[in-house]
Subunit: 578 residues, 2 copies
């Protein structure tokens, strides 16, 4: 169950898939010259491999426990988290103005992928802290920022997001938790919140909850929800910790996966809360972090997929079984064509999904927020779906050993399954893609991306043949794929709402297949031109993608053409009778 951080793969994509020079020239980030970048990646890799990864299985087997209103994290987690704090890893992606390292999001996507792969359950804790920091930084008063941000940036205090209630999940409009003005600048928060990731634990001195609640005179629905800080321990004026606040975990979920991440039901009983931002604008304040959180969930899918792939690859090298074609004796199963196919397929999909995640981060770093918005739901959904897909195939390669928990393959399969669900289900991502991101701007951001990738075809054609690397099938698949994507986009743009929503997931999948393959091919072309030695191997993955993954877009287009008719054709109430 060892984990080798994929620094070669990630490094290659950072060097040739992302324009780090242009990101540097925005002036928004600290300089990251190549040697610093290598040092950061190497440091994150060492930390992920040596500190987070070794306790991943322990966390799965020994979930957090709840006793007397206090959660104790899985064995080893407290110590590992302390090392995370000591290494100042919380600050990587946070702006320099507030004390962060000020690195571009592209770099933090890379470092976080390694952390998630090493230990997704534990990695969620800093992810939530980061989101909470950004919400507080963007919306809270200076006094609140002064009180909370330094400790959170250090990682000494962690963050948690208290959004979901039993009747308010994907749609937060029906949130019922109450906030009553205490008249002293504070509010009394009451209600029950569910599915609170890292809602309580013993790894940090304090836990800063961001809580959505409703004032008594606020309008119903999503425009009547406000955002509050509720610290687990109240903070005295001198910064020391005071009394425990009036809320506590009252239950831990028994989950399919990420057992090491305590998922709490939190009961707020008149807890002291501090308003963040304007009254009734709580949802808007939360949405500001959503792009980043969604991207990171896509990265989690890639991360778990990568770790599952590594385990499967190792097993395929070690396990001798059966005589492959053209051989005389038993051989490692990697020599069986179908096992080989599964491995290449996993790797090509992972590289494609990783390319989309990095392109999303790059767009954000470059201030191209239309593209960032467009790519975010694709990165989230395709990254997370790929994680499930790849970890399922990894179980398959292990055969019976994959179904036995002690191998660890099953853990990845279980852990990965949350990513398509949280931070907006993948169905919601698809709705977001066609609604807010495609149709609202009349397809402009998508056409801009397609145009850039069409230029990329020329890059690929130009590079093909150099250094003996043939990319001609990639250029052909890109052309065909981008044509298909253009046609599908036109159909979605002119479709009725119901038709568009009915095929939204299919459209997202089509986008993912074409864009991931195109990005990967363009990256390899640039790598070839730059004379990067890894390019010959990477070109194999790009060709596999071009020959076996991108072409599936054609079948998806046929489904998209059919619109919602086949979906609404069926009498809804007869479904149960069949």
């Amino acid at each position: 169950m060892s984990f080798t951080p994929p620094v070669n793969a990630i490094g290659y994509l950072l060097r040739h898939g992302v324009d780090l020079d242009a990101i540097g020239q925005t002036g928004s980030f600290e300089d990251t010259p190549p040697d610093l970048l290598d040092a950061i990646l190497g440091g994150a890799a060492d930390f992920a491999r040596d500190v987070f990864a070794p306790i991943n299985w322990d966390g799965d087997q020994n979930p957090a426990t709840l006793e007397d209103g206090n959660v104790t994290a899985s064995p080893g987690f407290k110590s590992a988290y302390k090392q995370f704090v000591d290494g100042a890893w919380q600050t990587v992606a946070l702006p320099a103005e507030i004390g962060g390292m000020g690195l571009p999001s592209t770099v933090s996507v890379a470092t976080n992928e390694m952390l998630y792969a090493a230990n997704m359950a534990l990695g969620l804790c800093p992810m939530l802290t980061s989101s909470a920091i950004k919400a507080i930084d963007a919306h809270a008063s200076d006094a609140l920022k002064t009180t909370y941000l330094p400790k959170m940036l250090a990682g000494e205090w962690t963050g948690a997001m208290c959004l979901t209630e039993p009747q308010a999940g994907s749609d937060l409009g029906p949130v019922r938790s109450k906030a009553v003005d205490n008249g002293d600048g504070t509010y009394a928060i009451s209600g029950q919140k569910i599915y609170i990731t890292w809602g309580d634990h013993d790894c940090a001195d304090n836990i800063i909850h961001l809580v959505l609640a409703r004032l008594p005179d606020s309008p119903a629905g999503s425009r009547g929800i406000s955002l509050f800080i509720c610290p687990k321990y109240l903070v005295n004026e001198d910064g020391s910790l005071g009394d425990r606040n009036d809320f506590q975990p009252i239950g831990l979920e028994h989950k399919l996966g990420i057992h090491g991440s305590p998922t709490c039901t939190m009961e707020f009983s008149g807890a002291t809360g501090y308003l963040v931002g304007e009254v009734n604008r709580g949802l808007a304040s939360m949405f500001i972090m959503m792009n980043e959180a969604r991207l990171f969930v896509g990265v989690q899918g890639v991360a778990i997929g990568e770790r599952a792939y590594q385990a499967a690859l190792q097993y395929a090298h070690d396990r001798v079984q059966g005589v492959p074609p053209g051989q005389e004796a038993g051989a490692p199963i990697i020599d069986h064509p179908d096992v080989r196919r599964m491995l290449i397929d996993m790797k090509a999909k992972l590289m494609g999904a990783r390319s989309i995640c990095l392109a999303t981060a790059e767009a954000g770093d470059l201030g191209n927020h239309a593209r960032e918005g467009l790519l975010t739901p694709i990165a989230k959904a395709y990254g997370s779906d790929t994680g499930v897909d790849v970890s399922s195939v990894a179980v398959q390669i292990h055969g019976g050993m994959g179904f036995v928990e002690e191998t660890g393959a099953a853990q990845h399969y279980r852990d990965s399954r949350i990513a398509p669900i949280y931070e907006g289900t993948n169905g919601i991502q698809a709705m977001d893609l066609i609604g807010r991101k495609l149709r609202r701007d009349g397809g402009e951001a998508m056409r801009d991306l397609i145009a850039e990738l069409r230029d990329g075809v020329k890059t690929v054609q130009g590079a093909s043949g150099q250094g003996g690397v043939d990319l001609s099938v990639c250029a052909a698949a890109m052309e065909q794929g981008l044509e298909t994507l253009t046609t599908a986009t036109d159909i979605i743009l002119s479709a009725t709402d119901v038709d568009a929503l009915g095929v939204a997931t299919t459209y997202l999948e089509l986008c993912a297949k074409v864009i991931s393959g195109s990005l990967l091919a363009r990256t390899v072309a640039r790598g070839v031109v730059a004379g990067d030695e890894q390019s010959a191997a990477m070109a194999s993955l790009a060709r596999y993608h071009a020959l076996r993954i991108m072409p599936t877009a054609g079948g998806l287009l046929i489904s998209i053409r059919a619109g919602a008719d086949p979906i609404y054709d069926f009498p809804r109430d007869q479904l149960a009778d069949l």
Copy 2:
């Protein structure tokens, strides 16, 4: 977590998808007039719903335990199994000559599906007994038959298959367990067997193990393996039980799913064994049951998928969240187009996979063993893959509730994952399909099936429009799909071994998509002509399949055309470095 056996769906497919009259006319089976068939289906449905289903979750939460060499099954399992014995359910699919009900395999596919859906973990026990009965009946001496078959047919004694060893899984050639001739007509069996499903338990008085082992002078490899009966308790001449035999469970696997099914490591320490069939012909004796066992694993996939679908459908009706397009207020999530799409997609795939399973059984019942052999790997692989696919989407529809174990959705996701692995991994099914089933007979069985389905296009065209049911898109998709399948088949037939094996899984998937959609459309066409009232609703599923599932065959064909090049393109030993 209730379960409603899908008697309407299954009944419709039995009435119009399968030629029960022709099966009856073979003379191989007891008569099953429509009212008897209904009674059997209804009885199996009641039993599955009332006896097996209610303890499914208990079995998941409370796996079997091992103490002092004895396994105690999950709570309630012993009592439920006793009711299974009392109802004589073990005998359904067994030939009348040996005391079975003598029903066709098509009918037992239907009844077993309901049992597996109700409780796959427990349903495995009778499945193994059935396989053991058939092996003994086909190969054992009359004396052994007399001793073992009556009790096994009654279900009072269960069966177990001891094949796998640590170094011998997919490839049983390296089996090392030893058999030494005792000189008294018995053998002393020694060795360790792993992954022995229902290898020990307390639900039956005796457990009859079929064990593969090697005589000292036997040749190496698969041609030196013999088959032995090893009863848990030796049987005295008067049929009473004697001493416990010298083997025992020494471990239980901690598995991802089917927790209620005890998976044992068995240690044989000179256990008394009785030779079944000829020395060194043990593997051949086992292979004879393999078609049936593989078909039943495909049925398990459909079964778990069906149960997962039902849970998701119920949740989608109950869960109110968000405002669907064209509506004003919050509505059940089934009114969101993407949720609706997922549900129809699940149901259409299930009906398609179920159609393939029944067609496989029908071919066997009609004595068309070439077709039975051709369809078996497709039924096994597509049925089991569909189970995983559908149960994953069922988790997705449940959102966060799907990731929490108590909902039960996660159990289906975990349980279903074994089916693509056991009884020959799906990769092995794909190799079997192109090797033994397609290329060995020069494609004759496949061409025969394609020709029959091309005739089916005419049936579909002829029925379209009758009773207001439009099947024109089905006919068009069938024509296109069968053309694609023909092309793909020609490619596989003329490909090199490596090219064919490299795309074997893709070819199997293509076969499954086209054949399932074609069978479903033809079934509906026949139902329309027969004036069956269910046909209008079923036609919606066939149209969905035609518009959104069958067309994906085109993309698969592109992959098949590429052959193994994209798979072998990559330097194997560089995979770990990327």
